[in-house]
């Protein structure tokens, strides 16, 4: 009798407290921690599913051997009779890439084409971005729209349009012949020139946009200060505008360079028989030779060729920022 009421009085508030704690826990989980975890996990899940997983699949195939089967490559592991797990990593594909000069030449040529196209994009894109950034505020959006406008048409259609323009009976040759500047049509299409033109044309907005973003944020008061201290306009550009726009230069260059290295459509449609680019080689291995393992090895090697210099660049950038913090 005497223990019962005390038990109820003790359990009453404590169960209420428990209940409160439980409610709070659910609340914090749904509103706070869980929500935050979900938001933060999303990009990682995305990267895992759409980047890391495919990467390992390709890596796995690159270590297999070609067979005439479906899928057209061997398995990496097998159970043998004496209950052993046999893992066979076939490195021959990579050795083959190294031995056949075609691949090395294709890699080097791709890097060369991408680098030259990036520099041309920078030379054309920088004045454009600077012009837009320094235009009256009302004009900037219009000019930016003009830069982005070509994206509203399919990339493939725009490349086909260039084929129409560049071919022997194309607009450009007809115009030049009508003007009497040339007798015979120029072989514009299916040349390295056409490849450069295509890459620069397609990737220019990727250079202009990050450049514009850094240039438009620049404090024009700094240029006034430089002029006030005796710097002529060109000197102000070299000492103030250019160094402060380097983050934009690096971002824009990477955005052009990386996809340009692996570009397939442009060299395939605009390039000639002598245009050697790794994207084309890769396509050939996959679809013409049906050699998935070698094609995968080509892809992995290309990744290394592009990613390693990138990491190096990032390292340099990091060193500069740490220098900023600890002079």
């Amino acid at each position: 009798m005497s223990t019962l009421p005390s038990a109820t009085t003790a359990s009453g508030p404590s169960s209420a407290r428990l209940r409160l704690q439980f409610d709070r826990g659910v609340k914090s989980l749904t509103q706070g921690r869980l929500g935050r975890t979900l938001v933060m996990a999303t990009p990682y899940v995305w990267l895992l599913v759409f980047l890391l997983l495919p990467f390992f699949i390709v890596l796995r195939i690159s270590l297999a051997e070609m067979v005439l089967a479906s899928p057209p490559y061997t398995s990496l592991w097998e159970w043998t009779q004496d209950q052993t797990l046999l893992i066979r990593l076939h490195l021959g594909n990579y050795a083959y890439l190294w031995e056949d000069p075609l691949y090395l030449a294709a890699y080097l040529n791709s890097l060369k084409v991408a680098a030259i196209a990036t520099v041309i994009c920078l030379l054309i894109g920088y004045p454009m971005a600077l012009g837009i950034a320094r235009a009256p505020a009302g004009w900037r959006l219009v000019l930016l729209m003009l830069v982005i406008l070509p994206f509203w048409t399919s990339f493939l259609i725009r490349i086909y349009a260039w084929m129409g323009l560049l071919q022997n009976q194309g607009l450009i040759n007809q115009l030049l012949m009508w003007l009497g500047l040339i007798e015979q049509p120029l072989a514009l299409l299916h040349s390295n020139f056409a490849v450069y033109l295509g890459i620069v044309y397609s990737y220019l907005p990727f250079m202009v946009l990050p450049l514009y973003a850094t240039l438009v944020r620049q404090d024009l008061g700094l240029l006034e200060a430089a002029a006030d201290l005796g710097a002529r306009p060109w000197k102000s550009f070299v000492t103030i505008t250019w160094p402060l726009s380097l983050p934009g230069v690096i971002a824009g260059s990477l955005l052009v360079f990386i996809p340009a290295v692996g570009e397939f459509v442009i060299p395939d449609l605009l390039g000639g028989p002598d245009t050697l680019m790794i994207g084309k080689v890769l396509w050939g291995e996959f679809f013409a030779n049906r050699d998935w393992p070698v094609a995968s090895a080509v892809a992995i090697a290309m990744l290394l060729v592009v990613v390693l210099p990138l990491l190096l660049l990032q390292r340099i950038g990091e060193r500069q920022t740490t220098q900023k913090v600890n002079p």
Binding site: D219, G221, L222, E224, A225, A226, A227, D228, L229, G230, A231, R232, K235, T239, I240, P243, L244, K324, P327
Partner: protein, 383 residues
């Protein structure tokens, strides 16, 4: 007050009719595309070694005028002469003028030393000479220990010093300062006022400063110009402008002022005494005024709060007093400000030093007081 003793040869240059002005601004106007007159026919002469202030509320055109002097803005009309040379069409990078910007405009990617060296490097001076000058400037602004820091690692006060050092490094003939202390907190600002004046004394450069802070202009300048709506309303030494404001605007802008409107009742030429009838006081106001004014001329009397005192009895002769009740008290430490509602219905500000307050006995809210002032305490402004 940062007012230090100045070279007498310099301080009176503007009163010497033979002195050649160092900077001449002749009828300069700046009209913006909108048709707005930012600067409206301003003429100004400034002498070597002066610390001159352009004082006015924001939007009065003082910064535009300064930018015209720097060459960052082209005047729509008028000429600018610096040291006998017409620089109106000279680009900023060829002018013997440097500017300290309001935002400081320090180059964020350069260290303190590189910022200071920037102007010197444009002159292609030998490396050793640049290094020596940078060290000298760092010492001048007490920033030797921060030479290798970047601007974003400095406090506001330190950035201000770097900006000053950078603008002085090239030995400019004329230094322009655009609200140089605007971004500093009050205490630092007061200390920096002294420093800036001291540095100006030491380097001897002519300084022109733009400010909206009348106290700052009064403390630091040899002379100042009060600007409003693109025009210069008055030029003079701080005490001239304070004691003898030329217009109602200046009287109200520089320090606090009580204004009584009225009409001229009479003028005693022998005593140079003006009698003014006003609705704002029970009796006439009599004030010294060196020039006669016609009877009936509408005038305003400007009385500084510190020139009015709390009187025990009605003064003799029976002029220059009002009676009222204390409505508000502001205790500022060294002085107290009283807002007194007069019998005539206007509010008069009175400033009493706390020493005087103690001897006269404490005043409190709703106390009846008698306010009086001397015949030389006010300025008569013709409207």
């Amino acid at each position: 007050m940062a007012q230090t003793k100045r070279d007498p040869a310099l301080i009176d240059a503007w009163q010497d009719p033979t002195a050649r002005p160092f900077l001449q601004i002749q009828q300069v106007s700046k009209v913006f595309e909108s048709g707005h007159y930012a600067v409206d026919e301003v003429s100004l002469e400034i002498f070597r070694g002066e610390f001159f202030s352009l004082l006015g509320a924001s939007g009065c055109g003082k910064s535009t005028l300064l930018r015209i002097l720097a060459g960052l803005e082209r005047p729509t009309q008028g000429r600018v002469w610096i040291d006998g040379e017409d620089v109106t069409d000279t680009p900023p990078y060829e002018r013997p003028v440097n500017m300290m910007f309001q935002s400081y405009a320090l180059f964020p990617h350069m260290s303190v030393a590189q910022n200071i060296a920037f102007g010197l490097r444009q002159e292609r001076l030998p490396k050793a000479q640049i290094k020596a000058r940078v060290a000298e400037m760092l010492e001048l602004v007490h920033m030797q220990d921060f030479a290798r820091r970047k601007p974003d690692q400095l406090s506001g006060g330190q950035r201000q010093r770097v900006a000053l050092a950078r603008s002085l490094a090239k030995h400019p003939k004329l230094l322009l300062l655009d609200e140089p202390l605007g971004a500093l907190d009050r205490k630092l600002r007061e200390r920096t006022q002294f420093e800036l004046v001291n540095i100006q004394e030491r380097v001897g450069t002519t300084f022109i400063m733009v400010t909206h802070d009348q106290e700052e202009a009064m403390t630091m300048s040899t002379r100042l110009a009060v600007m409003e709506a693109g025009r210069i309303l008055q030029i003079g030494t701080p005490s001239e402008v304070y004691e003898y404001p030329a217009s109602r605007f200046v009287a109200e802008f520089i320090g606090a002022a009580n204004l009584f409107e009225g009409r001229v009742e009479g003028y005693d030429e022998a005593a140079e005494l003006l009698t003014i009838h006003t609705e704002a006081a029970a009796q006439h106001i009599t004030l010294y005024h060196p020039t006669p004014l016609a009877v009936g001329t509408p005038v305003a009397v400007a009385l500084r709060p510190e020139k009015i005192h709390v009187a025990a009895q009605i003064p003799n002769p029976d002029t220059n007093w009002v009676r009222g009740t204390v409505k508000e008290i502001g205790y500022l430490g060294d002085v107290s400000i009283y807002h007194v509602r007069t019998e005539q219905g206007s509010t008069v500000q009175v400033q009493v030093t706390n020493l005087a307050r103690r001897t006269a006995g404490p005043l409190t809210w709703d106390d009846e007081v008698l306010l009086a002032w001397d015949e030389d305490a006010g300025v008569v402004l013709t409207l």
